[in-house]
Symmetry: C2
Subunit: 434 residues, 2 copies
């Protein structure tokens, strides 16, 4: 089958990430989509260096891309309102499917865009508009289609969460952290959009429509920012067992739906209270499924590109006819499965927790450390417990860095054969999740 031609408009942070991901993972993506996906056109007003643009038609006029008969899917990554709207409408008029990461555009003009797309029979995909790389739109739209959704609550602005996390962890003041966030590039020079909750309100508007089946109503979202939160409140909340997070909340009530963005105290035992830094997370509660949570990077070049590319693959699958349009059972096309081997457990790598009973004698620890050192096993932490009776046996607990299982097993054999150790060594693997 001939490749699908993608035209990207806007080669900023997300556009650049999308181009890079489509090139780097071209093979993996094609094995999943059943077709090659090519970036054939790029529209950017100012030429950007540093990208591999071989074979790509670059135009300074983004509308040229939207109208070009060779483009199958238009990816709108210019951001903003008016021009983006005109671009997307032009693409729809010309029968293109559209993928966009533009939350402002969807929240404020989604109803008219969807109506135009419906009329033309094209798709508008916008997973990247909410919570970056987390496939939250897909989860709610397709994963919970059996549920009446009761409520959802999310940390959906990374800048705000970064500021509140720093205020709590380091006792810093709001203004001070905001300045750093601006220097790090998390917050814009005009931070209103993030810290006053407008960005979160746009995302909440989109999520609530999908959850409850209501039209997009951005102007009905109650929106309050975090600039009033003081260090005092952060500390008192902590004393009460709570943390302050900036949440977007949509809740079904008798008589209507609550849509609100504001700071909120959440009990520290809740997973959502433990989502820190620039990370995003959304809880969704359905009447059948109960409480669920989705966590990941809510912004950034490649996390957002991850969602853009997933949308492109969805569109590409839908372009195929009948049964070829289906998602393959194992994600990849059946004739494209790989025969990469599964490693035997000896060849796997972990950290290790070791517990052993040793004689309370001088030199025991040295012998054990020597055995580990000979196998290149680094010790991360040690606990040695007091003996019950002097000179009796003591528990020695070691935590090691990552090492091949077979090396660890041969070290354990050597430790167990020492005169100064008792019985078997208890071995539990440690996952650093990195």
């Amino acid at each position: 089958m001939k490749p699908v031609n993608v035209g990207i408009c806007g080669l900023g942070t997300v556009g650049g990430g999308t181009l890079n991901v489509l090139i780097r993972n071209a093979d993996e993506i094609s094995r999943r989509a059943g077709r090659d996906i090519l970036v054939s056109h790029i529209g950017m007003r100012n030429y950007k260096e540093g990208y591999d643009l071989s074979g790509v038609k670059v135009s300074a006029d983004i509308f040229e891309v939207a109208k070009n008969p060779d483009v199958d899917v238009l990816v709108e990554l210019i951001g903003g309102y008016e021009v983006a709207l005109e671009l997307v409408m032009t693409a729809i008029d010309h029968g293109k499917h559209v993928v966009t990461a533009n939350k402002a555009l969807i929240a404020e003009h989604g109803n008219e865009i969807f109506a135009a797309a419906h009329k033309k029979g094209v798709m508008i995909a916008f997973e990247a508009a909410v919570a970056g790389g987390i496939p939250i739109i897909k989860a709610i739209r397709e994963g919970f289609s059996g549920n009446q959704i009761n409520w959802l609550a999310g940390i959906i602005n990374g800048t705000g969460n970064f500021i509140l996390t720093e205020m709590r962890d380091k006792g810093r003041a709001f203004d001070d952290v905001l300045k750093e966030a601006q220097q790090l590039g998390y917050a814009e020079a005009d931070p209103t959009f993030d810290v006053e909750g407008i960005d979160a309100a746009q995302k909440l508007c989109i999520l609530s429509s999908i959850a409850f089946g209501i039209p997009l109503q951005f102007d009905r979202v109650y929106t309050q920012g975090i600039s009033d939160i003081t260090q005092k409140d952060v500390k008192y909340a902590e004393e009460l067992g709570y943390r302050i997070k900036h949440l977007g909340i949509a809740r079904r009530r008798n008589g209507g739906i609550e849509l609100r963005v504001h700071p909120a105290l959440i009990h520290k035992d809740q997973l959502l209270a433990n989502v820190n830094g620039v990370m995003n997370a959304v809880m969704v509660h359905g009447d059948a499924v109960g409480p669920t949570l989705y966590y990941g990077a809510g912004a950034g070049s490649e996390p957002t590109a991850s969602a853009v590319v997933a949308d492109i693959v969805d569109v590409v699958r839908s372009l195929a006819s009948s049964s070829d349009s289906r998602v393959p059972h194992l994600a990849f096309q059946p004739d494209k499965l790989s025969d990469v081997s599964i490693l035997p457990i000896d060849e796997t790598e972990c950290g290790y927790y070791l517990r052993m009973e040793v004689l309370d004698q001088p030199g025991v620890m040295a012998k054990i450390a020597q055995i580990l050192g000979e196998k290149d096993i680094s010790i991360e932490a040690i606990i040695q417990k007091e003996p019950q009776i002097e000179g009796g046996e003591v528990s020695l607990i070691l935590l090691t860095r990552k090492v091949l299982e077979k090396k660890m097993n041969s070290a354990i054999d050597a430790i167990e054969s020492l005169d100064s150790t008792w019985g078997k060594v208890m071995k539990i693997r440690v996952e650093y999740l990195k």
Copy 2:
């Protein structure tokens, strides 16, 4: 359009939940799917009371359901291996799409089932086979199609996680908690399947195939249970800042893939370490998206039914031709959006954190408590800070139960007009996430 007929085989925990959800949420589901979905046939060997079976053809022969020309989608919920395999193969032979929650069947016979389905042009959907209500298969299969997936790690057996959580929280012994889990119905009379990791290995096998594009290879999963974990190890791990969880891990390495199920220490700051009781969670790390996490109920009647019904809706959407088969932009069909109103902020409900500066005088707290009492506002917690100078002003912090915002605002007005309070009351909402 005429309704889609669903035949359910097996009316146990998950089958009963599926029937209940399809009936209770019929309207919501139809608004999403674009067609009514009816349970037209049920196959069950032993008649079960307590369900609304009006208009349903009930048969004691499950194969009759699989062969019935009126059935469009067969839902296999009988569990087990041989009979389930024969049932699914019969349904495929008769051109039915199949939805199943049977992880054992997919892990051990998926390759042949998918091949047969591919030949016949029917779909096999199995979201409910892994992590119950969490749409983790959809997330990996469709949400991350732009990524090279590096690794995934999950708590994918609720019984095992319940046992480890109780051992840690209450200092109980493994055997003791296992007995309780059996009494609560979490663990089977023969608990091997759960505590020795076979159930988790089946799920890991499925997830890894979807993540890496490799055939299902259940017999290559290294599998170790939790029955060796002692109270001692749980405590020492805690001292080191770690928690012991039973994990399924799939990791891409040079030269091959690691597939292993075993207990593992995870640092307590990781979200995964804070997933407790019978809940499940899966972390997925993609090269573009970075680390992500999905959390929810991994088993149980309606959480699992949630995934079964989502699969049915996916199948139903794919039955429609061309553009009608697409997932609607806002999840619900464009002509089925609801005009339910968005509540003004005055009509929303929250708990509240209030901070106020009050004079350090007798009777101040009584006045404030009286104002709150008159508005039916219950106090959940109070902190009163020592004054800097005797008789000066002190900070008073209150946490309230849920109340209407307008009631809270009028109470705040009354508090602010007291002679004994200073300036404005700081109000932050509290979300109990229930």
